[in-house]
């Protein structure tokens, strides 16, 4: 019967859609619950500080090293391409704009999702598997307030700082390659960058982007951990989902934000 595979296929699409929508709804309700429990959690600052340490401080090395390398590559490739049009002097502007508007928040966000996000998911998932969350509930302590909210806010606080640091390290890397190695004039490098990059549209939008990415990745990370199947495979699958969904969310949100932020800025 030729209609049977078709009907089955449609049924599978339907079931998948329903599952996806119900998960999104569940995640949204979870988000509201986390926000509801946040004031109580934030009143106990040490809890959140500890998570800033795990999400932020422990991501410093990877952010700094990748920032410098991305900046150096941008410096090399950018200079070669710009020089084709005799515009090698604009290297500072090219590097600065690329990093501030896009690469800083996006690459830092992707690194954050795989470094800190996966760790958060694995930690909460393991706490669930070993019944630590259940135990907490039975001690009349809400795990949303005690475990989830501090991790969420630790991520939200760390992400913009990491993104800014990534951009600065990238500019530094490009400076090393462009000015020290290739020999672009230092004054031209900084001058062009400053002339072309404005605080309000460029730097503030960059910070807004990184905050949005921080919220998205942290939410996905705590949700996946909390929602993980309490088995070894469940936790490993949830960790993978955090990295995949977190990265996709960053790229999709980046497109949406860029459309709203930068479309029309350069035009009359």
């Amino acid at each position: 019967m030729p209609t049977k595979p078709l009907a089955n296929g449609l049924r599978r699409i339907g079931a998948g859609t329903i599952r996806a929508v119900s998960r999104m709804g569940f995640a949204a309700r979870f988000f509201v619950a986390v926000l509801y429990h946040s004031p109580a959690a934030l009143r106990r600052i040490p809890l959140t500080l500890r998570e800033v340490y795990f999400a932020g401080v422990l991501s410093l090395v990877v952010i700094i090293v990748s920032g410098v390398f991305v900046g150096m590559v941008l410096g090399l490739q950018g200079y070669d391409t710009l020089n084709l049009y005799g515009a090698g002097d604009s290297l500072g502007l090219f590097v600065g704009l690329s990093l501030v508007r896009e690469l800083g928040p996006v690459v830092a966000g992707l690194l954050f999702a795989s470094r800190a996000g996966s760790a958060i998911t694995a930690e909460i998932g393991l706490m669930k598997t070993t019944e630590q969350l259940s135990a907490m509930e039975m001690m009349a302590v809400d795990p949303l307030a005690r475990i989830v909210a501090p991790r969420f806010w630790g991520g939200v606080i760390s992400m913009p700082l990491l993104a800014a640091l990534f951009s600065v390290m990238g500019v530094f890397g490009a400076y090393v390659v462009g000015v020290r190695l290739i020999g672009v004039d230092s004054g031209t490098f900084w001058g062009n960058m400053q002339a072309g990059i404005e605080f309000r549209p460029d730097v503030t939008n960059s910070i807004i982007k990184s905050v949005v990415f921080g919220v998205a990745v942290s939410l996905i990370a705590v949700f996946e951990g909390y929602d993980a199947k309490p088995t070894a495979e469940g936790v490993s699958a949830a960790t993978t989902r955090t990295v995949v969904e977190g990265s996709l969310a960053i790229l999709a949100l980046d497109f949406i934000l860029t459309v709203f932020m930068f479309r029309g800025v350069g035009d009359v």
Binding site: M127, E131, Q132, S134, M136, M138, M139, A140, V141
Partner: protein, 267 residues
């Protein structure tokens, strides 16, 4: 004097098609140690979760200290839980804290006691389970038996009126097993609490409990004091006490008949 826990015709299922509990009725008097026994997956842990309010039954009534757990609001439920200690299957110690912090955790969360007082209380609880020397160790550095004892100290940290034990004997060597069993009995009598033990370890239970319930496929099929159980002629109880592989609890998971299934494969 009312009973600490009363279950009246309680039914529960995670979904409509697969009921886990089918009309459980039991009453647990104050100050006693009561065991709920049964094979794996028979719904005995579910009973504990109903008592603790982590699950809500579809039918019947669960009363703890006279209050119907299902009808409690969030605040009332949390107030009730503060008076219940629970020992989880593998301890469920917080792995990111030291032993000391694990036991101090419920005190810090629910009281405004000074650090000095909390320290004294924690050391007292640890002394009671014989692990005062392990205060600064991490849970990962403990043996299974030690972890269980620390979890026991944490369960009684707030001097509860009721302690629930989910498989306190699982995966312990015979010595640790005896130690944990004696601790449960001693803490129960010294602190004047009520204890409910969910377990499948019949020998250890018979040594320490006042009363036993046997649960199979969601129903209570036998009950009695340890002496009654030892002398029982009930085939299920006999199978459980003597540890026979087949009996009223079948060895085989429900399936078509063996011959039928082999014949089906041949076609």
């Amino acid at each position: 004097m009312t009973n600490a826990i009363e279950l009246d015709d309680v039914s529960f299922g995670y979904d409509r098609r697969r009921p886990v509990l089918k009309g459980i009725t039991m009453s647990i008097p104050r100050g006693q140690v009561v065991a709920i026994m049964g094979g794996s997956g028979c719904g005995k842990t579910t009973i504990l979760r109903l008592i603790g309010g982590q699950l809500r039954q579809q039918h019947g009534q669960v009363k703890v200290d006279g209050a119907s757990v299902r009808d409690l609001g969030r605040e009332e439920l949390y107030a009730l839980r503060r008076r219940i200690g629970m020992l989880f299957q593998f301890g469920a110690l917080f792995t990111d804290m030291t032993v000391f912090e694990n036991i101090a955790f419920p005190m810090r969360e629910h009281t405004d006691l000074s650090d000095a007082l909390i320290r004294d209380l924690v050391l007292m609880k640890l002394h009671a389970v014989g692990l005062r020397g392990a205060a600064q160790l991490k849970p990962s550095e403990l043996s299974g038996g030690m972890a269980r004892r620390v979890a026991l100290a944490r369960a009684v940290a707030l001097d509860p009126m009721l302690v629930l034990y989910d498989e306190p004997f699982a995966g312990l060597d015979p010595i640790s097993l005896g130690v944990v069993g004696q601790l449960i009995r001693r803490l129960n009598d010294a602190l004047g609490i009520t204890s409910v033990i969910v377990t499948h370890d019949v020998y250890e239970s018979l040594k320490i409990v006042d009363y036993l319930y046997f649960v199979s496929e969601g129903r209570i099929i036998a009950q009695g004091t340890p002496d009654e159980v030892r002398n029982s002629a009930d085939p299920f109880v006999r199978q459980f006490v003597d540890g026979e592989a087949d009996g009223p609890v079948p060895f085989h998971y429900p399936a078509r008949s063996y011959a039928e299934e082999l014949a089906a494969g041949a076609n």
